[in-house]
Amino acid sequence: MIGSVQDMAGGLLIVVGAFFYLVGAIGIYRMPDVFTRMHAASVSETLGVGFLVIGMMILAGFTLVSVKLAIILGVVLFTSPIVTHALAQAALQEGIKPLGVGNQVLVGPGAQEGPEKIGKKVEKRKEAPPKRPPRKTQKLAPKRKSTSGTSSSRKASSSRRNRS
């Protein structure tokens, strides 16, 4: 009785973990950018590995195998953020820009401080919303036009950034 419940719970967690692992791998394959691929890889390295290892720990019970699985889980959970951080920093230093940044210079000698640039961008986005409400009141009925309007306003704001 207890054994069957243990097997079912462990198998369910393992299936959920395998699902998340596969989702993360599909993200690694299909995402358009290095940074978005890192984002997808973190899914499979936290949720996927976590569910898989916890499911196998439930299957193993209180044995030495369970301790080894806990060691594996701890090592993976500690090292994957380190690797992701190092990878993102190396990619930024190399000059690879995230999608949506445009022509801004984020890192390097020819640019201002990166965080200040990013902060300015955030401030501009905070200034943008007060301009939107009149447009929304004009185009409340068709929702598609409102979305296209926001995208065009994003493009316009990015072009302004490029000029400045």
Partner: protein
């Protein structure tokens, strides 16, 4: 049954990661895919150990987990400085 399904899913994930490692336009894509392949190898070892009732594979999994981060950081440092004995710092080598 569920272990076999999970093993197949991890194998498919490994295939996708290997494809990204072969196709990746930049070095960092390949390094990221290599890291994902390492994690997938750990999970595959653990799952196969459970499938065949041979939990000794978990030791090899721990070893892979410890080697994975060292290898990834070493590759990143090599491609940034061009030398593994570089002390690091602000100015990377000419590249």
């Amino acid at each position: 049954m569920m272990l076999a399904a999970a093993t197949l899913a991890v194998l498919a994930a490994l295939g996708l990661a290997v494809t990204r490692a072969l196709r990746g336009p930049t070095v960092f894509d390949r390094v990221l895919a290599g890291n994902a392949v390492g994690t997938g190898a750990i999970m595959l070892l653990a799952l196969i150990g459970f499938l065949t009732d041979r939990p000794e594979f978990l030791d090899i999994g721990i070893l892979y987990a410890l080697l994975n981060i060292i290898g990834t950081l070493a590759v990143l440092k090599f491609f940034r400085y061009g030398d593994l004995s570089h002390p690091g710092g602000e100015e990377p080598a000419d590249s």
